[in-house]
Structure formats: C-alpha cells, structure tokens
Symmetry: C2
Subunit: 210 residues, 2 copies
C-alpha cells in the first residue's frame, strides 16, 4: 500500500488528528492499540477507545486491521518482537551451549524494563482471556517454539522445546510477575548456572551417570 | 467466638437472608467471596457484591473478615487448600523419589477440574493485581515453598524449592492455561518421566556424569 501523493508533512510526530491514509496512520493506530491493550488488557479495550486515542475514526481502524482480535494480534506481534529473536540467539553458537544461550536470552528480555512491560501486558491478557490466549499461543508456537524445535532434529523436538520453555516461563512468573523471594533477588549468573543445564537437558538430553 | 444461645435452626442449607452470627454465616460469606473472586477477579469484586450474594450486610462481612484484601486471603486459602497438601505428599515416601511425587501432585491438582478451576482463578487475580499477588506470594511462600525447603536441609533449600516449583508452574501455564500443543495433549506418564528427574535435580542435585 502506498501513501499516494501526500502533502509534505511538518517535522516531528505525526498529528493525532491526521486522517491521511498510509503507513504513518497505520503506525499511530498500532501504537495506540499497544498502549490501550497494555493499560487495560484485552477484554476492557475497545476498538472505539483505540481509534479515539489514535485520533482517527473506528472505521479506519477496521479498514487497516480488521477485527479487534486481529488488531490485538498485530499489536502484540510488535511488542513480542524482541522475544522473536530467540531462535537466532539459539543458533548463534555451539550446540552444547544452546541451553545457556536460551536461558540468558529469556532472562535478559525480562531484566530489561523496556521489553518486560509489554511482555507482562501480553501475559496478563493471555491468562485472562481465551481470545488473547489463542493469539498468544499461535504466536509463541509458530514464531518461537517451532523454530527452536526445528534446530533440534529430533522426533519429539516440539515437546522438548516446550518443556525447556516451561522451565523459563515458570522462573519468569515466580521471579518477575509474582516476585517470590529468594528467587526474585537471586543473582543472574547463579540462576544461569542452575537453569542452563536443565534447559540444555530438555533440548538435547540429560547427561547420564552410566 | 461462640454462637451464643442461638435458636434451633431448620434443617437444610442456611437461609441466604440469615443474620444470626456464627460459623454458618462466616461460611456463607466465604463461599460467596470465593464465587465472586473466581468469576470476576480481585479488582472487579467488591465487598458490597459479596455481601449481597451472601444475603448479609457489608458491615457483617467487615466484622468477620476485615478488609477486602483479608477476605481475599481467607477465600483463596480455602481454594488453595488441596495444593497445601503438597508438603505431606512430598514427605510421604523415599527421598530419592520426591521429584516424582511433587510432579504427580502438581499435575494431579491441575488435571482435576474441581481443583483446577479455583486455582486458575487465583492465578488470574495474582497475575493481574499487585494486592492479590502479595496475598498469593505470602501463601505460596509460607505454606508451600518453605515447608518443601524445610525437608531439604540444605543452605540454598528455598531457591532450590522455587526452581523446582518454577518447572512445574511453567508446565502448568503452558499445558493448562495457554494450552500449547503438543504439551497440552501430552500423556501424563510421559510428562512425569520427563519432569520428575528435573524436579528431583533441582531439589537434591543433578546426577553428575563424573
């Protein structure tokens, strides 16, 4: 889609009341959607409220993004973008240290407030609303877990990837969401040392005493 | 607190409009609180709505339970009761199979719809509201994790118990809440076989190839 012969815009942020069609408007709507979904969750956010925050008509929101569910998917896909670099992070190094790289990657996303806040909003919506859970599930499965599994080349690769992810999801919940001590204040390197072998074990098999 | 010289009650369920003081009224309020918190979450539930559902005055609810936060704590403590049998389940058998017993216990609580529904309501409230998270954190820490840790007799017992719990929390989230496949449909015994060694490893140390 091209913006056509748009008049030259003034510098700075696009006006909230602009009605011109094109990528800029699309971005303004998407940012408003991210803010509204983050602040109020999936259920309590309406397309009308997002349109109002973006300074556009509701019809324009539907024109660009379709239903509320599709808009939510588009909004969280952007918020989730940092997490989608996980497969690259995993592939970028020796195979016997994949557990450590995945552990560092996930904890790193949560340690960084800029990525933690939108991720927390997604988790809250997914836990509370079936539609949001379905969108989240699809995103996590197709964009993340399947790609991790594809690097494994094992018949039960998907289940392995999910059990490894489960260890890191559980630590994220207890450390960053519920904030249980001493885990919430535990040293990052200590955690990596304890978790990396488990994640590696799920993915490629645990060392056997025999 | 004693009920005093209460008049003999008719048989059957206590009336919803009863105003007599005593354990029966307390139970009626607590059940109404559980229902309201489960259906609407912590934030959207008011003491007034709970009082109305129980057929009593709001002042009576405050008289028995104090603040909304204290009422929530009392309500989830009952819902959480099955999970509080975990320490007993852990102690009841050989120490080198504690990982398997804890894994079976947690998956069993989630597999049973009667215990899954209230647990899910608690998780939703805790993920969404800081006050509910604090109540849940206190309950999990003092009633569950500390008691598991006490059976270990190791200096880092609490962190070990939390990392073991994290593996099972993550599996619970992905399997029962988000319902990611193939984990959501995985065979229970296959899961126990894969998870028990990890839980055991966190609690008592992983087998070392050397």
């Amino acid at each position: 889609m091209t913006a056509g012969a748009a008049a030259p815009r003034r510098r700075g942020r696009p006006s909230r009341t602009q009605t011109e069609r094109g990528p800029a408007t699309r971005e303004v709507i998407l940012e408003a959607a991210r803010e509204q979904f983050s602040a109020h969750g999936y259920e309590k956010t309406s397309v009308r409220a997002i349109a109002k925050a973006a300074g556009v008509d509701s019809a324009l929101v539907h024109h660009y993004f379709g239903t509320k569910e599709q808009l939510f998917a588009a909004a969280i896909e952007v918020s989730f973008a940092p997490a989608l670099q996980a497969p690259a992070a995993i592939e970028d190094g020796p195979f016997d240290a994949v557990g450590e790289r995945l552990t560092r990657f996930v904890l790193g996303v949560w340690e960084n407030p800029a990525t933690r806040t939108p991720l927390l909003a997604i988790v809250r919506s997914a836990v509370n609303h079936e539609t949001a859970a379905a969108v989240f599930r699809r995103l996590v499965t197709t964009q993340l877990l399947s790609r991790v599994a594809a690097t494994l080349d094992l018949p039960d690769a998907e289940l392995r990837a999910e059990l490894a992810a489960a260890q890191l999801v559980g630590v994220s919940m207890l450390r960053y969401v519920i904030q249980v001590e001493p885990l919430a204040s535990a040293d990052m390197e200590d955690l990596v040392a304890r978790l990396a072998p488990v994640v590696q074990g799920h993915l490629t098999g645990f060392s056997n005493p025999e």
